[in-house]
Amino acid sequence: MRNSLYKKNIISINDLKRDELELVLKKSAILKKKPEPGLLKNKIIASCFFEASTRTRLSFETAIYRLGASIIGFSDGNNISLSQKGESLEDTISVISSYVDAIIIRHPQEGSARLAAEFSNSIPIFNAGDGSNQHPTQTLLDLFTIKETQNRLNELNIAMVGDLKYGRTVHSLTQALAKYKKNKFFFISPDALTMPSYINDMLLENQISCTRCQNIEEIISEIDILYMTRVQKERLESTEYANSKSKFILHTKTLKNARNNLKILHPLPRIDEIDYDVDKTPYAWYFKQAANGIYARQAILSLVLIENHF
């Protein structure tokens, strides 16, 4: 039976139905337990990074190699002849699509992956981040990690901390978890970096509980997932940054009343919002989360490229 993700573009987490999310998570778990190194043998995948993103690129490339596929591409858009000669994104994608079986694209402009899909001649596009918009495979690996650590994706209390305004990972994860039942959200951010209204409206319309909190301590005993993000210095006035920063740094003492099942996630890179001592606690899960990216990306690549999966 053809899986519903076959030949589908993976542009936005919003495009994936709940049963498609489940399919990816199920496949991720299988691949984590039992690698299938020949799954994408003879496939060629283009990795087109128009802006640098070492972690995502290496994670995708590792996933590709582990599935036995070959890879072509570039890791920095500034150093390729395409940009130096002024070729449009549309033409670039159109040409590359005639070489490969799938294209992974990272681009600084929002909507670029959607645009690429219009010019890829039905070759599947994987969005590896388009500006501040979407990064769907990050969300899939976040979901996989949450499910793995909590054994469920509903009835969870999730706190999101840091830059909730510009952080695309928290937007997408909230949208994805909103597809599940009885999840509760707690948002903790500086006033200048609160969750955008379209996310709050979506939660309100779906009657999903969300609470804005002042600090992590007040909700630490209630939460299952603490999703930390970096407060970006460049987004705030220097005095505001100095004031906000200290409020949102996670120390081991903050975790005093944490639930046993609490897991701390972070899309990385970490700057100073999680104290290094926290790494030694059983709650720290961000490096395992990053490692899970390989399995989630292996899963989505194989589901999109193999028709009769499962």
């Binding site: 681009h107 909507g111 959607r114 500006g131 918009n133």
Partner: protein, 151 residues
């Protein structure tokens, strides 16, 4: 009606967009690229109107607007009527309805949206909110209140 006839000449065949809110006529001409034609266009601005007080009117000869074009008029001009004329007679009267999506006409307020590239047509879908109407860009997925996109 008599006054309008004196000020804006009747057309033999084509479309008349009537009851456009005053000051919007020129905006519609450019946004909908009605001027990209060899056909004769007549425009009346600030004409007296019983319905609106003042109105604009656009007459385009030998051109019949598509259903999509007509419905897209509704975002700027919700009370507009589109009349089809043949041999100086009214042969059809259409009232635009707000469409589900609007292509090409609007500009995404997000300056980093890929739709600002020249070769791409913008595309928005309407999203009904509790007490308002939002527009969501199909490319960057950002949602804006209708007024922000239309201003």
């Amino acid at each position: 009606m008599q006054i309008n006839k004196l000020q804006v000449e009747a057309i033999k065949c084509g479309s008349v967009i009537d009851h456009i809110p005053s000051q919007i006529g020129f905006k519609l001409l450019s946004l909908f690229r009605f001027t990209e034609t060899e056909n004769r266009i007549t425009i009346g601005l600030n004409l007296p109107s019983q319905k609106l007080g003042k109105k604009d009117i656009i007459k385009i000869e030998n051109t019949f607007l598509s259903a999509d074009q007509i419905n897209q008029l509704a975002i700027y001009s919700p009370c507009a009527t589109v009349n089809y004329i043949d041999q100086y007679n009214l042969v059809g009267k259409i009232f635009p309805k707000l469409p589900k999506k609007i292509d090409r006409i609007l500009v995404c307020p997000n300056s980093n949206c890929v739709s600002h590239n020249n070769s791409i047509n913008s595309s928005f879908i309407f999203i009904k909110k509790l007490n308002s109407m939002n527009l969501k860009c199909q490319y960057c997925e950002k949602e804006f209140s209708k007024n922000i996109v239309l201003s």
